[in-house]
Subunit: 223 residues, 2 copies
DNA sequence: GATTTCGATGGACGATTGTCCATTTTTTAT
DNA sequence: ATAAAAAATGGACAATCGTCCATCGAAATC
């Protein structure tokens, strides 16, 4: 059975990365030690040095892995979206706030790494990559929107709308981090779209606003 | 010289807290050890146990201190603001994005603690305090705005505007964290006000938009 | 089936972690 | 000046950290 060696090797490599993410999500970075990692991965102490040359490299690989996972998810979602720019923007917003992407595990991991970003250049780059790719997708969509709307100074409007939308999404993630229990996805989406509808009335409607009447948001929050 | 004892005691207590913040800002939480702290404070090893009973309590006290400092800054600023709701909102936005509040040190500290928030309930509460107090100030202002504007369903609009504005400010902080060099305060403010102007045209004007023509934002960014 | 190859093991290692307390130093009270 | 009180010191301590390597076992090659 040739190739089994390399196949196993890759499998273990991935097991280490996922053990790191699991531990970071559950216990935080400061409690993610070598002992903790190898225990979760069910492997031996020396594996980290063998596969990654040290703990730091492993953590960086895990950060990269998590970042790529996020981006791939968004991109996959985008391919199922319609072709109008507003459909694409809507899809990104809904995707970024969906259970699949915005959940306790991912938020824990994301903010844990962010907390170290200032002091670990390598990690900051992955957050960066994400923003860069996502930013382009949204920016292109907004450019088409302002062109259709015929705004004066459309380029500036598109740029600001991109920046503002991304900033608001970031803020929603922070909300989730600090209040995972009372966070309400529908409410978060409605707010983003309320701002977009105010800015581009012809392109974004406040579809969800009426059915999600006053108060429903909090009442429906899980315990 | 009576009272000198207690005075000195309090001074050292504060020195420890500020040593923690300094270290967290500069080296990150994971490298903020007891040795690092006492070296920066110029005190002896036992002081941490004496004053706080352990390193964890000291770190928590530092988180609380930083949080209170932030809030006090915003509140002080607000007292110099005019009395119209839009003036108060503008003051909060400008304050939150001002050099005095949004700078490398504070951003590093804030996100470092956030990274541990999920696993340290005590720390999450301080991030919370900030949001809670700030949220009320903005919410009250928006309530007055929608009343003047006579919006239908004004309460919901005010709540969403509050949530959205805070989320966008959070996002701007993240921007600063990841790109402290190319971050542009004027651009950040303009974007927030562009959204607010779209939502409440009668109350918020895009004053800075024209003078800050295309491209100026990036060109003026510090090296 | 014998030999080679290489991923996997787990304990040894020095360094560093946070806690704690016997001791010293300084202020306060007598 | 002396005694009492309290704050500050800094080293001892066990526990844990991440790294590394001599050894082993299974897969690949002959």
């Amino acid at each position: 059975m040739p190739g089994k060696r390399e196949q196993n090797r890759e499998h273990n490599r991935l097991a280490l990365i996922e053990a790191v993410l699991e531990s970071v999500a559950e216990k935080g970075i400061s409690e993610t030690s070598v002992s903790e990692i190898i225990q979760r991965a069910g492997l031996s102490r020396g594996m980290i040095h063998l596969h990654f040359g040290g703990k730091d490299n492993l953590v960086h690989a895990a950060a990269r892995h998590s970042s790529e996972e996020y981006y791939d998810g968004i991109e996959a979602l985008l391919q199922t979206a319609g072709d109008t720019p507003q459909a694409r923007i809507e899809m990104i917003v809904r995707g970024d706030l969906s259970e699949r992407v915005l959940n306790r595990r991912n938020v824990s991991i994301w903010y844990a790494f962010r907390g170290e970003a200032r002091n670990r250049t390598v990690i900051a780059e992955y957050s960066d990559t994400r923003d860069g790719r996502l930013r382009n997708m949204i920016h292109n969509a907004f450019l088409r929107v302002v062109k259709e709307a015929g705004c004066a100074d459309g380029a500036a409007v598109a740029r600001d709308a991109t920046h503002g939308t991304l900033a608001m999404l970031e803020g929603m993630w922070t909300d989730y981090l600090l209040h995972p229990d009372r966070f309400d996805r529908e409410e978060a989406m409605r707010i983003v779209f309320r701002f977009l509808a105010a800015m581009f009335p012809a392109h974004f409607a406040l579809t969800g606003a009426i059915e999600a009447k006053e108060g429903r948001a909090r009442a429906a929050a899980p315990t």
